[in-house]
């Protein structure tokens, strides 16, 4: 009986989980975001993420709000959060720290001066 109740309870939960926002297909004139790491290849310790923002035709975009979140692809490690860097010629140098060797998933969110938002995730391997 408790089992049944729980199942019912969970089924109602399934009903109310917020649906994930649909991934928009990038418009042809959407801005571009590229990620480079310093040092390259990435290794455990202090580092910097070089994020380049350009318009679709290659003009640098300055003045965007950048936030970065690095998760390991496995459970059990704290994420690394960073962001808020000044840019020069569309290149944002975000201070970062790789806390463990292994596979990372970096999620970059950029809010452009015109209010548009770009989210990009990049997988990369970090050496110990």
């Amino acid at each position: 009986m408790p089992t049944l109740l729980t199942l019912l309870l969970l089924l109602t939960l399934v009903g109310c989980r917020e649906p994930a926002p649909p991934t928009p297909t990038p418009a042809p004139d959407a801005p571009r975001l590229r990620l480079a790491v310093d040092p390259d290849p990435a290794a455990v310790g202090d580092a910097a993420l070089l994020i380049t923002l350009t318009t679709f035709d290659g003009q640098p975009i300055d003045g965007a709000q950048i936030t970065v979140r690095g998760d390991m692809n496995h459970a059990g490690m704290q994420p690394v959060l960073s962001g808020g860097a000044e840019s020069e010629n569309g290149v944002y140098r975000v201070p970062f720290r790789w806390t463990m060797g292994g596979d990372w998933i970096v999620t970059i969110t950029a809010v452009l001066p015109d209010g548009r938002q770009i989210v990009k995730t990049v997988d990369l391997a970090v050496r110990s």
């Binding site: 408790p2 729980t6 998760d71 496995h74 059990g76 596979d103």
Partner: protein, 495 residues
């Protein structure tokens, strides 16, 4: 010796007819929650409860609780809950096939689980982890429905096998208060169950006023007997005991208790364990798997896999990276989890026999199985060092993940997740504790081995101990090397 079940409050709760349920229902709810989040939540393992709870918290607490208290995880195991349902459906009530009634299936299941864990990166995938939980429920239900005893727990479940082995180091064990009561016991309810369709003649104890002080009731409200077929007055070991306490509830004489003892007391007790190869290789194999599982997390494993693939000339086949990785891992598991333990322990046993000139007296099997208990402490040390590491560095990650889960369902009572909760873990301290766990395990193993050698070889005990001590030392040194490497959390070798 204290009978935990006669302690004031806790004893009452544990012995209550629904006492086990009180532990199982919360565990069941958690399991269902994990399955749900695993299938519907974020695919990011670091933020999903389905990957955090089993691989960080469950594993860490499992080994800690086993060593500190006993097999509480089997006691609370939700996979056996469908058992009651399955039992009702069960028609045949056949016993498990005789050929499979040993630990070989458990050993295979353990190897399979660790292999899949490594190969498919289970802890990087919430959905796959949820499938593993579903598979557990399904397998336990099917086996329970098909056979009369708790076949899944006793012969198959890899988690159960792990718990059985390391609960032998626990400070508690089921036993009886008065062996004489058992000698004159008619029903043997602890084994047979207190419900019997046939009327059994029982003499109830008559009180001073002429009425029975306690009456025996045989009806459907009775309790099943031991699911893994242990007989309380004969129990010497925690092996196969799921701590379900059915025996305690079934005994009409209130004779069964959960007694405290010196931790690991049974490891040096002469006839606590059957001298069987399957059992011995479960214990020895688990110690090796403890090393292997940790080895799977350090950089040299990737180099080794790469070398193996080259050496076997597999790249020419043009197979996918996943297939190549699978073959390399299979080779490592077969080597390190099967061939190496068998080879090394057979060698140690033969050497000990030759050195002590007992080749004619002892069979190789007797010489090998006698030392199996010595692999419990060192194995426990490996698992403790490894899983407490993950527990330590990932302990707080469950809090923001749970907050995020609730927010996902528009429940804001716990507030916004703070993903940096707990701060950065102190890795130097963890490293120190790991070293302590390894050394403690090694010393424990050495002392168990020396007591076994003394019993077995008397005056020749030093020579009889030597090969085993060297093997244990080698294992510990490999352990120190493995745990001295930086842990990595890497997934696929080739993408």
């Amino acid at each position: 010796m204290i009978d935990v079940l006669r302690l004031p409050l806790i004893g009452r709760i544990l012995k209550h007819r629904r006492g086990r349920l009180a532990l199982q229902v919360p565990f069941l709810l958690i399991a269902l929650l994990l399955i749900y989040d695993g299938f519907t939540g974020t695919p990011l393992a670091a933020q999903n409860l389905a990957t955090i709870v089993p691989w960080v918290h469950f594993r860490g607490f499992a080994i800690l609780v086993l060593l500190l208290a006993g097999n509480l995880f089997c006691m609370g195991c939700p996979f056996t809950l469908p058992r009651t349902l399955a039992k009702r459906l069960s028609l045949s009530g056949r016993r498990f096939p005789r050929l499979l009634r040993g630990k070989w299936l458990s050993i295979g299941a353990l190897l399979l689980l660790f292999f899949l864990y490594e190969w498919l990166d289970l802890w990087a995938s919430p959905a796959l982890t949820a499938w593993v939980i579903v598979a557990y429920f399904a397998a336990s239900f099917v086996l329970e429905a098909a056979f009369s005893e708790s076949a899944f727990c006793k012969y198959v479940c890899p988690l159960g096998a792990f718990n059985f082995v390391y609960s032998t180091a626990a400070p508690t064990r089921i036993g009886v208060h008065d062996a004489d009561v058992c000698k004159s016991c008619v029903g043997r309810e602890c084994l047979n169950g207190s419900y019997s369709p046939q009327p059994i003649i029982l003499i109830d104890q008559i009180g001073v006023d002429g009425a029975p002080t306690k009456a025996h009731i045989h009806n459907k409200t009775g309790v099943p007997g031991c699911g893994t077929l242990l007989f309380a007055p004969q129990i010497q070991s925690n092996l196969d005991c799921t701590l379900c306490l059915d025996c305690v509830r079934a005994c009409p004489h209130d004779n069964v208790g959960l007694f405290t003892r010196a931790p690991g007391a049974e490891l040096t007790q002469p006839d606590a364990w059957h001298k069987r190869y399957d059992l011995s290789f479960l214990i020895i194999g688990l110690a090796f798997m403890g090393l292997l599982n940790a080895f799977g997390m350090i950089p040299p494993v990737y180099a080794l896999m790469s070398d193996l693939i080259d050496a076997l000339g597999l790249r020419a086949l043009g197979w996918s990276g996943l297939a190549l990785e699978g073959i390399a891992l299979l080779t490592i598991f077969a080597g390190g989890g099967v061939v190496l333990p068998a080879l090394l322990t057979f060698s140690a046993a033969s050497a000990a026999r030759a050195l002590t000139r007992t080749t004619h007296r002892d069979s190789l099997r007797a010489a090998l199985t006698a030392f199996a208990p010595a692999f419990v402490p060192i194995g426990a040390g490996f698992w403790l060092a490894h899983y407490s590491f993950h527990l330590w560095i990932g302990f707080f990650t469950i809090v923001p993940a749970f907050q995020a889960f609730l927010l996902d369902h528009r429940i804001g009572i716990l507030g916004q997740p703070n993903w940096l909760l707990g701060g950065e873990p102190n890795l130097t301290l963890v490293g120190l504790l790991q070293t302590l766990a390894l050394l403690g395990g090694f010393i424990g193993s050495l002392s168990v081995a020396s007591r076994i050698a003394l019993r077995l070889y008397r005056r020749g005990s030093f020579l009889g101990l030597l090969p085993w001590a060297l093997l244990l030392l080698a294992l510990m040194l490999v352990g120190l090397w493995v745990f001295g490497q930086p842990m990595e959390m890497r997934g696929a070798l080739f993408d």
